[in-house]
């Protein structure tokens, strides 16, 4: 059927009394969803100027109407109700009347309450409050972890030890290749960058000092933590988050398990064991990367480089790096587990928490790194 036939016949519109708006709008023909695009502008134009009183759609001439068109009419009615006017449907045949009933077309119109857009200040305020809230939750979670750890330390038999080893493997052994590769490259790049400047002063040998100190004190702990955060932090948050949304964590609680003890401590312990070890290995390959550059492009023999490294890098330099790395490990474990436990809202929620874990952990890692650096400087170690 041609769509011109289906459209509202303007000629048939009867002018309303005492108002410029038309009050009785007859429709006719077969009104189907496929004509909705053409029909909607005409319908809304027909009632555009109506702000009060009642307007009636006369359906006597309509032989067929489907649910799509009916929902257009019902929407129009809600729009009119917003403006303070009423829309009535009149003269529907039996089938259309049944459809109207089915769509709840006879119910009172609920007023649409538009959401007020938030101002910039409110948005910033809400974001700040939610960050503070999250921080408070993380601190609370830390408290729970400490309590659980103390309890396990008192009664080691209650610990979930046999889950720790698989996590050591997952977070440590599996991360080894990428950690070694990246830290070698870091040592390599550092030496390469420094080579030209040092050569200008004839101070080639000091590349060993530069690389050795920056790698052990700063770069190896930081790079390793970043890699572990991206790999294991996100994985832990996603795993625990999935367990949370599928009620597995509730099932554990019902079965009498302490969830922090059972789920969090093995992961935290694994990270605490693994990250410093990875960092130590990263120290070694970082120095090796520097040595490679020095021997190839600076003419420093490997023996000389090694001797210089031993003179420059003291055990306490390595130790400060390892202390940092242990703190990073705890940060990652804390944030990842807390975020996992806080997950709600299905698969989408899991993804959101994995992302926020990485972002929040990286932020905290850099923050803690800064604090430690200042602290170590103040203590002169």
């Amino acid at each position: 059927m041609a769509s011109a036939e289906l459209a509202v016949p303007r000629a048939a519109l009867i002018p309303g009394q005492g108002s410029s708006a038309r009050r009785l709008i007859p429709l006719r023909g077969e009104l189907r969803m496929r004509d909705a695009d053409a029909l909607w502008p005409e319908l809304s134009a027909a009632v555009e100027e109506i702000h009060d009183g009642t307007v009636t759609f006369d359906l006597t001439g309509v032989s067929v109407m489907d649910g799509g068109i009916l929902s257009l009419l019902l929407h129009l009615r809600a729009v009119l109700a917003e403006r303070g006017a009423r829309l009535d449907l009149f003269g529907a045949n039996e089938r259309i009347a049944a459809l109207i009933e089915l769509y709840g077309g006879n119910d009172r119109v609920a007023r649409l309450v538009p959401k007020r857009a938030e101002g910039l200040v409110e948005q910033v305020g809400r974001a700040t409050v939610s960050v503070l809230d999250e921080a408070r939750l993380v601190v609370e979670f830390l408290g729970q972890m400490v309590v659980a750890a103390v309890n396990v330390a008192r009664r080691p038999r209650t610990g979930n030890w046999h889950d720790t080893l698989p996590f050591v493997e997952k977070t440590g052994v599996d991360a080894l290749p990428i950690v070694l590769l990246i830290n070698t490259l870091v040592g390599f790049v550092m030496a390469f960058q420094a080579a030209k400047q040092l050569a200008a002063y004839g101070a080639n040998i000091y590349v060993a000092d530069l690389v050795g100190l920056s790698v052990t004190r700063e770069l190896a702990p930081l790079m390793t933590a970043i890699i572990v955060c991206g790999r294991s932090g996100a994985a832990i948050a996603a795993e625990l988050g999935t367990m949370k949304v599928s009620e597995e964590i509730d099932a554990l609680r019902i079965m009498g398990f302490g969830t922090v003890n059972y789920l969090v401590l093995p992961r935290a312990l694994a990270l605490l064991l693994v990250v410093p070890v990875l960092t130590l290995l990263a120290d070694i390959v970082g120095i090796a990367g520097g040595m490679l550059v020095a021997s190839i492009s600076l003419g420093v023999s490997r023996q000389a480089y090694w001797n210089e490294t031993l003179i420059a890098v003291h055990p306490h330099d390595v130790a400060t790096g390892l202390i940092k790395s242990a703190a990073f490990a705890m940060t990652i474990a804390l944030i990842a587990c807390q975020q996992g436990f806080a997950t709600s809202g299905g698969a989408e929620g899991v993804g959101r928490r994995a992302t926020s874990t990485v972002v929040a952990s990286l932020f905290c890692i850099v923050l803690i790194d800064t604090l430690f650096t200042v602290l170590f400087r103040a203590l002169d170690v």
């Binding site: 999935t242 367990m243 009620e247 597995e248 509730d250 099932a251 079965m255 009498g256 003890n261």
Partner: protein
Amino acid sequence: MIEVLDLTVGWGDTRLLENASFRVARGDVFAILGGSGCGKSTTLRFLTGLEQPLSGSIHIDGVGAPRLVEGRPPFGVMFQHGALFGSMTVVENVALPLREWTRLPPDVVHAMARAKLRLVGLEGAADKLPSELSGGMKKRAAIARAMALEPELLFLDEPSAGLDPVMSAGLDELILTLKRVVGLTVVVVTHELQSIFAIVDQCILLDKETRSIIARGRPSELRESGDPRIHSFFNRTAEAV
């Protein structure tokens, strides 16, 4: 067995049920009925202590107010969607509470878990992971896990949804037998009318609109009710207003 007084149930600011009181007698199969989304699963969360009452009290014989405590659980719970541990096989799932809360050697625990799986017709899938199970199989595995420690009290959230009629009848049979033989008390959420009439002793019907219990008693009596909301539920008719 369970005494609930003026319980209010909800999430955040929404109230799903207000000032509801009911009691579950020892050895009964007690059903919580109601339309989808009216708060049956949520009520179970409160009864099992996963949430604390917004007001009112719950008392369970031998437990007191349900609280989550570390230690051997006082009752078994089957969650609506199973909540099986995805990283463990089916038999390991069932064995977990046994392994944790008994001192039995591993092979005995394993055999007991298998026996529970046989009970729900799932022995063949013992070594599968939950992700390899169908919906109905997950339900049955979850029931087996809930029964692992032989609790006196069992909470089941829609145990027979998604099961074929034969399986469903088998489950009813199982519940009736356990009730008769070991005096099991069961609190069950279910929509299966056949199952309701077959096994349920007492039930309550929740209503979303009024946030209250609109009917209580034996299913066979409620079927004859004059109230259209109750009548339509028990006679499977769309509600005539």
